[in-house]
Structure formats: C-alpha cells, structure tokens
Amino acid sequence: MSVLKKTFHINKKDFIHAGEASIKIKNLLKSLNTDPKLIRRVAVCGYEGEMNVVMHGGEGFLNIQINTGKILLNISDDGPGIEDIERAMEKGFSTALDKYREMGFGAGMGLPNMKENSDHFTIESEKNRGTRVGMVFFR
C-alpha cells in the first residue's frame, strides 16, 4: 500500500510563516477528496503543533504520512522540553511568555485541542531533550 510522506521544517520563532505547513497539508488532503470535517481536524492539530514549536520549541519538524486508511501527523522539536506533561495537558495551563499572550497566543489550549481533535494522541518529552507529539486520524 502506498504511503505519501512529507516533511516540513518549522523555523525557530518564525511567527510569520507558522501555519504554512498546515495549509499545504490541507491542500493535499483536499485533492485526495478527504471529508472536510477530517481536513478541519488535521488542520487544527497541525496549526496548534506548529504554533507550539514556534513559541516554545526550537527548530522543529512536521511530518505527515497518508495512506488510504489513516493519517499520521508527527511534530517534533529540539526545544527545552516539557517538565510536567500532565499539567501541560490541562486546559488553560500555559507557560507562554507575556509577549506571545499579547499577540493572542498561549491560551493553554494547544495540546488539549490536539488531543481532542485526533483519534489517537501521544506525547513524549523530557527536560532539555525536546518534545515529540504523535497523532493518528482514521480516514
């Protein structure tokens, strides 16, 4: 079975281009005639993931694999990592700097949103070892 793989680089602190990888993924899914509701869920997760890397992580990658049955979305970065993953998963908990909150980001909904919108969600992180988020969507 063929698998379409794509990797997108996420630049450090690059707010201007954050979200572009998710737009490209949306367009891929649209040409595959994917259900609009599913496209929306993947787009929300991709965007939240990209913003997380831009705000908290360092360099990062967004990786997507699509086959006929499912979509795998992996987002990883080499940033400072998350100390307390359980707290990070709470709605409204945020460690975003004030300057990002002033820009309208950092409401503490990123990870919970990603979990809610994906069919399967995993997160791995360790202090100073970066963060890896994996999501699965069934088509």
Binding site: G19, I23, L32, P36, I39, V44
Partner: protein, 428 residues
C-alpha cells in the same frame, strides 16, 4: 475547457497568450494551451482578478452592456448603492431619476433591503449566542465571490455562512412580487442588475428561479456611467413618481466600502476584511480553528470593498471620498423598524432557501479526486522539473502543471525547463 466562464470571457483577437491572468487566478482555473487561453468554467468564481491584471484588456466580464434597452419591453433597473459613490455630491434620488431618463421604467434602490438584511443578521447572531447551532465566526454571505470561494476551496466552512437571504435576493423577490401584481406574468419585463462586479448568479437567486417569470440581465456600473453622467446634467425635476420607490438614502453609500456592512450592526466582535489575498488568508486561518472569538466577519474580495470592483467607473479612492462626505452629512439612521423585522424573521422571511448542500453543488465542481499514487507521481515530476513556476507551459505554477500531467491534460514536453535541460540533466 472553454474560452469563457459564467462570469468572464477572453477576447481572442486581443489576447497575447501571456500568463498574467493564469498566475493571478485564485482557483487556478485558467491555462494557455497553444497560445490560446482556456478557462475551466466550474472553477471560475467570478472574482474578476483576471480582468484586473490583463495588460491588453482581453479579459472581459459577461454582461449585457452592448445591447441597447429594448423599447417594447419594460426595463427595470435594480441598483446597488455602490452606483451613487461614482457621482460626487449627487443625491441618490437624482441618480435613480437619471436612470429613468435613460429609458428604464423603474429604478429600484437596494438600501432598504440592505437595512433589512442587517437587522435580520443581528437577530440571527443574537439567537445563535444562546443555542450555538452555527459555528463562530459566522461569515457574511453578501459577497457572492466569497460564497463560491468557500464552496470550491473551503467546503468545511460552508456551515459558517450566515443563512440569511442576501440583500440582492430579498430585493429581487420583493420587486418580482410587485411587478407581477402590476404587469402580470407576461414575458414583457426585463430586470437589469447594475453591478460593480461580474457576479451574476447566487444560490438564493437561483433557488427561487421558478417563481420569477422575468428575464434578468447584468450591467456593469462602467457601462452605464457615461449615459448617466449625461442625463444627470439635464436632470428633470420634480422626479417622476415610481411605484417601486423605496426611498434611497445617502447613508446606504457606506455599503460600498469595506466595513460598511458591520459599521451599524449592534455587535462588538466583528471584523471586516477586504482584498482577495487577505480573504483567502483569513479563510485558511478560520479553517485551522482561529477567530472563534469573533462573531461575524464581513469579507469583500475586492480591495477597499465594492468600490474596488472590476466594473467600477471611477477610481476606488475617489469613490471612497464621495462616500465619506455623503455619510458625514447624513449619519446612520435606520428606516426599518426592529419590531417589523422581528415579526418577519419569525415567519422565516429571511431564511436562505438554498441549503448548504445546494450551494456546494452549484458552485463547486466535482473534480476527480487524486489518489495517493498520483500525488506521489506529482512530487516526482516536481522534483524532475525543479523549476521556478515560470508559467511558460501555460499553467500557473509547476505543481499545477504536474497535476495536469498526471490528470492527462498536459504533456511533460510542454515544460521548457525539462526540454532545455534535455538528457544532460544539468540544472538551469
């Protein structure tokens, strides 16, 4: 692929086969094949961007501008208030009178229906705060290009479109009723929409097509401008009374500007966005879950709003100035009574007749979806071309070209980069 879509057409005698419009088209609906321009009708949303960028004027809007008014028919002009912005310091009533002098039996002003729409939209939004049946942010249905853009490229946002009949549809319905009452259903009436842009049909207007016995046609504002200016110089007063007089007001002029629709709405969390690129960027963001704290977004794909339309006669900044002056003079008072609107709203008077599914199939083509293998093939071709979106092949960019090749609509030989590189595989 044809030489025309429902909204625009190529004048092949003037077209040089350049790629300006090919590249400008937001839905990538235009190709140049063998020096001839072609449009995929189903993909054209009528935004008029091609008309704007064409350096030779080969791209034209589909209107009935060249035909003279038929003397033996009853011609009715349906007027968008954008028309008034073209004449500095001239009251709307005079513009309508000048239209009548030009040969229209009736000239109907739209502003009354704009106010009705505004009230109904407010009512809907206030109710939606309680039951949250529709997702935030709601999107204005007024600009038909936006509705078509969503149907074609952002189908997941169809449920965000405010399900209230558009002002032009409210007007068309009412005017038709009155005309039937006066003239009967005989085929002697022609309705002319005087428009700032090449947008003719929308789901609502089509949805009640069977109720309307009359032919309707479109005229660009630029097509009536010269005649109107002449008539305005010899305006006859007092104006001939018109049974379809809804009392035009100067404050309706503000609708021609971006932000005019929401300016007088009693809502705080609203946005006005204008310009095609900006509209697309916002729709992308809404699709990714942003702006859920905004209740209503007014989109206009033309820069500065409808005054920036492609069928406008005078420059948009001059028109903007006219609007600002007129609105300062008269303020913003509504004529429609809130109680009346409330009563009509309860009766379902404003509910859009077109369902989401109908809009989707009217305005979005069912393009054959690609398979995963085909997408991988596209990536392979892109890697081989390694080009810079030169458009010499007649497609807007390398990716679209690769997609055309995979779909069997173009040949790899059309790529000049591949041809120049030949077998040596050198990079250019």
């Amino acid at each position: 692929m044809k030489q025309h879509s429902s909204y625009v057409y190529f004048d092949e005698a003037v077209c040089t086969g350049c790629a300006f419009s090919v590249k400008a088209c937001p839905t990538r609906a235009i190709r140049v094949r063998n020096g001839r321009p072609l449009i995929m009708d189903g993909k054209c949303i009528g935004c008029g961007e091609c008309i704007r960028v064409c350096p030779t004027g080969a791209m034209k809007a589909v209107t009935s501008g060249s035909e003279p008014l038929q003397k033996d028919r009853i011609s009715v002009a349906l007027v968008s208030p954008v028309l008034y912005s073209q004449f500095f310091g001239v009251p709307p009533g005079d513009v309508l009178q000048a239209l009548r002098q030009m040969g229209f039996c009736h000239a109907v002003d739209m502003s009354y229906f704009l106010e009705m729409f505004q009230c109904a939209a407010e009512e809907f939004i206030v109710r939606n705060r309680k039951d949250e049946k529709f997702p935030w942010p709601l999107i204005s249905p007024v600009c038909p290009v936006v509705v078509r853009l969503i149907a074609l490229q952002f189908p997941s946002l169809l449920s965000h479109i405010l399900p209230i009949m558009r002002p032009v549809a409210l007007m068309a319905r009412e005017v038709n009723r009155q005309l039937i009452r006066k003239y009967g259903k005989e085929e002697s009436v022609t309705l002319y929409y005087i428009n700032p842009c090449p947008t003719r049909m929308d789901a609502d207007r089509i949805a009640f097509h069977h109720e309307r016995p009359y032919i309707d046609k479109t005229l660009g504002i630029n097509e009536v401008y010269a005649d109107l200016t002449r008539e305005l110089k010899k305006i006859r007063k007092p104006a001939k009374p018109d049974m379809l007089d809804y009392g035009p007001t100067e404050n309706s002029l503000i609708w021609g500007l971006s932000g005019g629709e929401i300016l007088d709405m009693h809502l705080d969390r609203t946005l006005a966005v204008s310009g095609l690129k900006e509209t697309i960027a916002y729709l992308e963001k809404i699709e990714m879950g942003l702006f859920q704290d905004i209740e209503y977004i007014e989109f206009r794909t033309c820069p500065e709003g409808c005054v920036g339309g492609t069928l406008i006669a005078i420059d948009k900044y001059l028109a903007k100035n006219t609007i600002k002056k007129a609105s300062r003079k008269c303020g913003f008072k509504r004529r429609v009574s809130a109680d009346n609107i409330h009563r009509l709203y309860e009766k379902g008077w404003f509910s859009a007749k077109s369902s989401l599914a109908k809009t989707a199939c009217l305005f979005s083509i069912q393009e054959e979806p690609l398979s995963i293998e085909e997408l991988m093939e596209i990536d392979n071709i892109l890697e081989r071309i390694h080009g810079m979106d030169c458009s010499a092949c007649g497609a807007p960019d390398c990716r679209t070209f690769a997609e055309d090749v995979v779909r069997g609509e173009a040949s790899l030989d059309d790529c000049v980069v591949l041809r120049a590189r030949g077998k040596s595989a050198e990079k250019i």
